[in-house]
Amino acid sequence: METAQLRQPPRMPQRNVLVVGSGPIVIGQAAEFDYAGVQACRALHEDGHRVVLVNSNPATIMTDPEVADAVYLEPLTVSSLERIIERERPDAILPTLGGQTGLNLAVELHEAGVLARFGVELLGTPVETIELAEDRERFKLKMLEIGEPVPESTVVTAVEPGVAFARVRGYPLVVRPAYTLGGTGGGIVRNERELRETLASGLSASLIHQVLLETSLLGWKEIEYEVLRDGAGNCIVVCNMENLDPVGVHTGDSIVVAPSQTLSDTDYHMLRTSSLNVVRALDVRGGCNIQFALHPTTGEYRIIEVNPRVSRSSALASKATGYPIAKISTRIALGETLDRIPNPVTGVTKAAYEPALDYVVVKIPRWPFDKFPLADTRLGTQMKSTGESMGIGRTFQAALVKALRGLDLNRETLTGNGHEQWTAEELDGVIERPTHERLFAVAESLRGGLRRGDADAAVARIAGLSAIDRFWLYEILELVAFEEGLRAAGDAPDLPGALRNGYSRNAVARLCGSAAVSQGTSFRMVDTAAAEFPAKSPYYYMSYGEADDMRPTAREAVVVVGSGPIRIGQGIEFDYSCVHAAWALREAGYAAAIVNNNPETVSTDFDISDLLVFEPPGADEVEATYLATKARGVMLAFGGQTAINLAEELARRGVRILGNDRASLDMAEDREKFDAALSRLGVARPEGKAARSFREARAIARELGFPVLVRPSYVLGGRGMEIVYNEGQLASYAESAPPILPDAPLLVDRYVRGLEVEVDAVFDGEDILIPGIFEHIERAGIHSGDSIGVYPAQTVGEEMERRIVDATAAIARELRIRGPINIQFVIDGDRLFIIEANPRASRTVPIIQKATGVNIVAAAVRIALGERLREMPYGTGLVARAPFVVVKIPVFSFAKMRGVETILGPEMKSTGEVLGIDTTFAGALRKGFIGAGVRLPGTGGNILVSIADEEKDDSIPILRRYKALGHALYATPGTREHLESAGIVCRPVNKIADGSPHVLDLIASRGVDLVINDASGRHELSDNYKIRRAAVEANVACLTSLDTARALAEALESNDGPPRTLQAYRRMHALA
């Protein structure tokens, strides 16, 4: 006994540790930091520490009260953090797990003297290192000092010195702003005009107004190493990764393969040794990401970038290897060393260990270009993707095909996606100057080569254009040849070959018209050790024609289907629900099995479920998991539309669906059936009809009266949906919309411009439970995901509330819901309309759960398992209103998306959201706006207003409030005339056509603090579009709805309350 105790490491004293999250999801900073943060909090708890967590993002697991002892859903600003530190008096802060946001905040708190004043120790990697890695000039000097090569470069803080450098060095050059995330404001420039433009935006994006200008390494191989170092100096490499796209495309926008495939042992260890030199020289304590460029023919290398924190790449590396980098980083930050931390995968070995893989991992980014037709789709140093799909396979080919399928773009194969229509010039153009279509262009080009009988020449040609290594091209060529073989196979396809290569049965059927059910699928374990040691991790991927590693679960399993890669409209919120579903299943005595392929998220942490199958959430994979685990059933209601879409096929294959079943899903998706159901219930829906032609659409619109809402049937997330105010707009919609197909008519609805409210509920067949009703600030017409949402609803009366509850219950009953349902209503005077019902957990579930403490995911899971709400502790009916207000404010990534129209409408555009909580509506709004990064002009600010004609009268009282707050208004002649006639004095500014200095100059020179511009114009060339884009480029907040402007005025007129923990708000609610 005594010796055993002696061997225990000395127990560290319990500490109060502040963990800073990364805030709202934006391009370049996504769910990976929730994954990292949750691991950190769990590690801190396991070691007996108290966790104080600050994050404004309500869709995160880390902000659940179960994860941290004190959760602050407060803005991530220095002043907000200072107030929290003053209240909580943490002993230490853990800054390296909250992405660039968390890191920057820690540095700012340190520099502002806040940490010193309150005696807060900074854990992990020292501030000097963080600063050194971010300060391009100092970093370069440090690397040269230790003999590590970096690209030739210069640091500039103004445009002219940069132009001078370029005159000497020539083009192309890379512009890298310091202290930004995802390469914001940077890029590759090929001439002086581009250099001037990019330098200007880069300098303004940089926190310290500093930009690195470096010689381009275009065409070199891009390689990353994920390193861990402890305070005793021990270092390990968790994983290396090779980008299929050579240097020139941001690694977040590159196809990434782990481990590297084209590096020899000498290359691999040359870069590994260099990585270790770097982390030692920088005194890193925890995780660090190092990016290299490796010259393909000389073997020289350069260090491109060092990130001394957990990152998107470290999340990918963790999922690729099974090694929990964030958890081990946290232990290191607490002072533990790698040789003492147990290896969580094997349980017997130590964390000082380098994973050996016996499979290949491929990541493909998911871009939002399907949502933004105007966006510039070229890929460069500025990241544009919103999420990623990861495939694990025994070969690169299988992993690539799985990652491709997992994008959920309805592309199951490399060829046959329409690129066969492209000309050779179009293919070459994309291969040379990459867009999101490059992989498909490469495949199509190779297919052309195969058909001409000179595939080798095609490979050489593509390699010449793109600098993609021939190794990859030959691997892709084999897949393309295999697909061609399937097309020619008729009714005798090589199904085993297809499954071995990662294709789905449906893909095979689509290519050759038949695909019999096949045996031979097996599950392989991700064990970090290539089978050298027995592992405990229940982490699997699928293989074909091999032995099976799956071990039976101790308890009966239930499969939860995940939501795949993060995209606009289907974000981290669905992962939140999946994680809670898994937890609820475990609580209920089941083994939770998750099928999902998003490497960034919490749901794919094998610690969360009893069994993780890291595969695309497709019918083959879900069915195989269901069969292999002999599961009781499958739950689809938590994985967003991706999971719901599997219902029909799974049912056809005999898979038992628990909870909301196929019939109810069909009903809500099929408008006619749904309309019939509504009319039986007497619930109103805005009048509308289906048009089979645009001529018919016009007739319907005339009959209903403008404005009308038009959209193609069978679309989701508002795609192609538009509000049309007159016949001219309808005509131009007809011009740009896809043709109307016989089986998919155009829907034309009367547009009810009322108050939009949203309800998340669970129904067990008899009782309904509604935790709360959300009301939207923006009137109907703006996608609910882009609206500011307020709970409890502020302007809905008791009588209307009762009607909403009754309607919700009636609809749930009619749809035979057994689980979650989400309904959006519009209130117009005393009339209640329903506009949409979704038979699944929605985007707002995490927020309502967070606000009310009612775990509706758990309730939905238990209902699906057969329990009744009355047997649960949540109650029934509408839960009593909270005595505080939460405001959800959407956050956009427009700065990352050149050319995108920012005006809000029926199509969702936001990438994330923040929450403001306070005891007053105005206080919550204020915190929400601050958290969303809207810089509030104090008094004396300048506001540029351009108001649509139909809104000008409505705008007057709102603009008066801004005047009363002491702000000056700028307006172009039309708006100005109207406002002045109402007695609001405005400063004049020229329209663009009137010549410089005009409205764009005013914005670019930061002459305004806020832009209010709600003038929708369909044309990207309109002044208003240019004004909105100019605001984005100049990093000036731009509100595109008067309703938002009214809310902001309200926030500006009031003060917010002190920070309070979510736990404190919950107690307040319980006592109310």
């Binding site: 005793a232 100096g233 021990n234 390990i236 490499v237 481990p259 590297s260 495939q261 084209t262 590096l263 020899s264 042992d265 000498t266 290359d267 691999y268 260890h269 590994r272 040794t273 270790l276 393909p296 023919t297 000389t298 073997g299 790698l338 040789d339 070995t349 130590k350 000082a352 260990y353 380098e354 994973p355 050996a356 893989l357 016996d358 499979y359 290949v360 025994r394 070969t395 690169f396 290594d469 021939r470 190794f471 030959y474 392989r524 050790a529 290539a530 089978a531 050298e532 040691f533 027995p534 024609g545 091999e546 032995a547 590693d549």
Partner: protein, 360 residues
Amino acid sequence: MKQAALFLADGTRFDGGGLDYEGLALGEAVFYTGMTGYEEALTDPSYAGQILTFTYPMIGNYGVSGAAAQYPRACVAGAVIKRIARHPSHRSSRQDLPSWLVEQRVPTLLDADTRAIAIALREHGTIWAALAVGDAALASAEARLTAFARSATTKDLVAGVAARAQRREGPPDAPRVVLIDCGVKRAILRDLEALGVGVTVVPYDATAQEIMLHEPQAVFISPGPGDPTDLPQTIETLRALLGKRPLFGVCLGHQLIAIACGASTFKLPYGHRGGNHPVKDLLRGDVIITAHNHGYAVDSSSLPPSLEETMVNLNDGTNEGFRHRELPVAAVQFHPEASPGPSDARLVFAQWLASVGIGP
């Protein structure tokens, strides 16, 4: 593709395809977990007599360079690969791996379930095996394996790969080290020469007197294949050199010095073969990641009082290094020369040479 299969002595069989070279390999089945370094591994004399399964599934991606080879020819008895690259791509590649394996007459099994093989070897322990490529070899494999398993021995492995005659390398005026060759890798000679040492290579069975004739300043005992107890002559030589010259051993050399000092060795259940083994330095307290290739280990509980354990394997606690308390004698179980593997221990040779007064 030709039919091919791996047969384990316990009756397990793994099927796949084969390269064009038809033949039968008999030997010990082992697995290597490194994700790179196939050329170095296939030419590592320590794999002599072994059928090597690569757990990493994509092998051959960067071709064969020749420069990475550790020996003039392939040393493995047979190779098992999940997927072999027929279109390698690398600036140093001179040949693709499949054609090199055919040229080297290495029976090779492809498309096999290499993970299942690794698990079988982990659970059963190292085992005699036959790898057959082609119909003729497949037909006779099981009978040949049965006969082989009855009489198989590791005794002749070192003789098959060690130098047969002595040779001098490096400038004549350089400090001289004698290297007892039990199957040395080129990387060790390269590293020693890079440190300014002249190396005289002598066969594994050279006597102490023969070695002393070279007037070496120190003696280095190389790695090699098989069981250290198969080499009583070498152990005898080392015993005679104790106290006469500084000694340093690597891998098999480490085991031989241990035995010469009175320790014993044992056979590991399934060996250490890879580039990711954490080794803790008990003197400095830090951990390095090292390259391993050994089936036997020094029993740390058998170390005589004269030997001090200096390093241990963090995974299984086995001995990774020791030094003599009085004499300039030291050894490491892992491979400081890497090739393949990490170079965390690259300073070990230089530090040893410096400690015995040789070197820059």
